[in-house]
């Protein structure tokens, strides 16, 4: 049986906090805290903490990108130098360390940056992961709480929401 979503909009953080607390304490059947998503106009770490630890893996991408960029960069540059026909220049060794260090450093950063962005998009599951339950006022100043739950539980959740002066409660249409 598929789960459905419901979204409630709150005017401020305090109300949203209280709504989540009540949700957590309600022991609804099949309800998991991981199914709760907060949508907010600004980053609000305190609010997110209430939803439990949600790990971030972006750093791993960064590390991989940086290491890859540095090592592959150096190898490619050095082997390109070693195979270039016109090798000898200015009495310097064919594979000189200082210039290659500079270039390695730049590639280290470049791939670090690119992989960070890539990792972040992967973590967001964007641009594919677009919930239809969204209200433009979230991007202004409202807080949205999105819950994914069994269709039978939805009314109960909406009930809890309604207790905390929500501006609006939205459900998935056609279900």
């Amino acid at each position: 049986m598929g789960k459905v979503h419901t979204l409630a909009l709150f005017n401020n953080f305090e109300e949203a906090v209280r709504a989540i607390q009540e949700l957590k304490g309600a022991h609804l059947p099949g309800f998991r805290i991981d199914d709760v998503v907060i949508k907010s106009p600004i980053d609000h770490p305190e609010l997110s903490e209430m939803l439990g630890k949600r790990p971030v893996y972006v750093q791993l991408f960064t590390l991989a990108g940086a290491v890859l960029g540095g090592s592959v960069g150096f190898t490619l540059i050095a082997s390109a130098q070693a195979n270039f026909l016109l090798q000898i220049r200015g009495g310097r060794p064919v594979v000189p360390i200082p210039p290659d260090m500079v270039l390695t450093y730049e590639l280290f950063i470049l791939f670090g940056v690119l992989m960070t962005m890539l990792g972040c998009f992967i973590a967001w599951k964007l641009p594919g992961n677009r919930s239809t339950l969204y209200n433009t006022s979230i991007s202004v100043d409202k807080i949205g709480i999105l819950v994914r739950a069994d269709p039978l539980v939805i009314p109960k959740i909406n009930e809890i929401f309604a207790r905390h002066q929500p501006l609006q409660i939205m459900g998935e249409h056609g279900r």
Partner: protein, 465 residues
């Protein structure tokens, strides 16, 4: 709730934004959205004046470049040994300009200086566009610009590669990395704002922002990853920015030319870069504040802080500048010493003294609080500082090439001609054209961060109370 009207912005600011505060904590979030979005719709007339003037200037540059392209670089009156003229000098200038964006967005972000939030977006845009302008000069100065791709290390069956030993290749790599990273950083930090634009736009613009905002909905997972990634990018950007201008300095420091072969060049260049960037931020701050009616966000206290930062960097630059002279003077390298004396007494001496005056003496204006808060003065001073910094770059290139190791090929009276000046002027047109376009298409003030700033300050003041 504040209702700003076009006619009395300044009046309102005076009434509602206390002087001591960076921003009014009571400002409504909806108002922030409204003000910023309005700036993208209806700027003052001055916007169009500046935009058209930039376009005209850019056309002049394009004309000169076409002329030069068709005739050869001789059309620019370059010669042996004045092989670079204004092109490389202006190239360094633009590269330097790009550094302040990183300073404001990355360094101050890491240090949690939240007053940067209303102004970092345009500073970052400045970084990106000045890098693009600098890149133009790399192309403009080439004798055979149509073969510029030889510098790129692309795989080919002939096993021909660029010369990785050349500081120019380091440059190309570093600038490429920096430009890519800056665009990533700028775009990345803008995603929540793009979502706001998406939510408010109509028609094709909605599609445009919809595409760019990549489905941002402000969920907690998005925010968490965003926070980490943004901080990581900031951490990358700082060493990158330092490396970029050190590498540009290496173009000279690694060479043999007396007057360039100086160990302190990399930090000197970085300081100069931050300096000219900060001065440019002041200029653009004043312009944007007026053109887009950002008086409530780009407030006088923020300008004041920027000015103080500029002064501090000016003093760092002054110190490194003096160190450069001192090491040439004190060191036993006769050639470098002669080159220094030539700069101070030779053909280009007036410009050398002007540069020292503008770079080291004029910033003392920033010491006075009353002057810091006087916009016309700040406008003039910030422009003067950048004139000084441009002269610094001119002083690095022209007198040094005029006075190398080989006395027979010294030049006594080389001056740039109209083609070079036209292209340099065109670069300013190109930059401000792009910049103005950007501010029209994208939010020049970070809405979500101003909200954060307001929120945190509000919470803090509540806690204090």
């Amino acid at each position: 709730m504040i209702h700003t009207t076009d006619e009395s912005d300044i009046e309102i600011e005076r009434r509602f934004v206390p002087k001591a505060k960076d921003i009014n904590e009571d400002i409504a979030w909806a108002q922030i959205n409204k003000d910023v979005l309005r700036s993208m719709e209806r700027p003052r007339l001055m916007y169009w004046v500046i935009f058209l003037a930039s376009l005209a200037l850019f056309s002049v540059g394009v004309y000169c470049e076409v002329y030069q392209y068709r005739n050869g670089l001789g059309a620019a009156d370059l010669e042996n040994p004045q092989v670079w003229g204004l092109y490389i000098a202006t190239f360094i200038f633009w590269i330097g300009m790009s550094h302040s964006g990183t300073l404001l967005s990355a360094i101050l972000h890491i240090m949690h200086a939240d007053w940067r939030k209303p102004i970092y977006r345009f500073a970052e845009a400045m970084t990106t566009f000045s890098l693009m302008t600098a890149g133009l000069f790399v192309l403009v100065h080439l004798g055979r610009v149509w073969q510029f791709y030889y510098v790129v290390a692309y795989p080919n069956e002939r096993w021909t590669w660029p010369n990785f030993n050349s500081p120019l290749v380091w440059d190309a790599t570093a600038i490429g990395t920096y430009l890519t990273s800056s665009i990533v950083f700028l775009y990345f930090g803008m995603i929540p704002d793009l979502a706001i634009c998406r939510d408010n736009a109509k028609g094709f613009r909605k599609k445009f922002y919809w595409f760019l905002s990549a489905g941002w909905q402000g969920t907690d997972r998005q925010w968490a990853n965003f926070r980490v990634a943004y901080m990581t990018l900031a951490c990358f950007l700082i060493p990158l920015a330092v490396s970029v201008h050190s590498i540009v300095a290496s173009d000279f420091a690694v060479s043999q030319q007396p007057g360039w072969h100086i160990t302190s060049f990399p930090p000197y260049f970085v300081a100069g870069a931050l300096y000219s960037g900060c001065a440019a931020i002041i200029t653009l701050f004043i312009i944007l504040r007026y053109v887009f009616r950002f008086e409530a966000y780009m407030t006088m206290p923020i300008l004041d802080k920027t000015c103080r930062l500029t002064f501090a960097i000016a003093m760092v630059w002054t110190y490194l500048n003096l160190i450069e002279y001192a090491s040439a003077w004190y060191g036993n390298d006769e050639y470098a010493k002669q080159a220094l004396i030539f700069r101070a007494t030779g053909t280009y001496a007036p410009y050398w003294w002007a540069m020292n005056f503008l770079g080291s003496i004029v910033p003392f204006v920033l010491v006075f609080k009353s002057l810091r808060n006087h916009l016309p003065t700040m406008m003039v001073v910030s422009l003067l500082l950048n004139v000084g910094m441009w002269l610094e770059r001119f002083m690095i290139i022209t007198p040094t090439l005029a006075h190398g190791y080989y006395p027979w090929t010294w030049t006594g009276d080389w001056w740039p001609n109209w083609v070079q000046i036209g292209i340099v002027a065109g670069s300013f047109g190109w930059f401000s054209m792009l910049f103005m376009l950007f501010c029209k298409i994208f939010p020049a003030v970070s809405m979500y961060e101003v909200k954060e700033m307001v929120y945190h300050r509000f919470m803090a003041s509540k806690a204090r109370a």
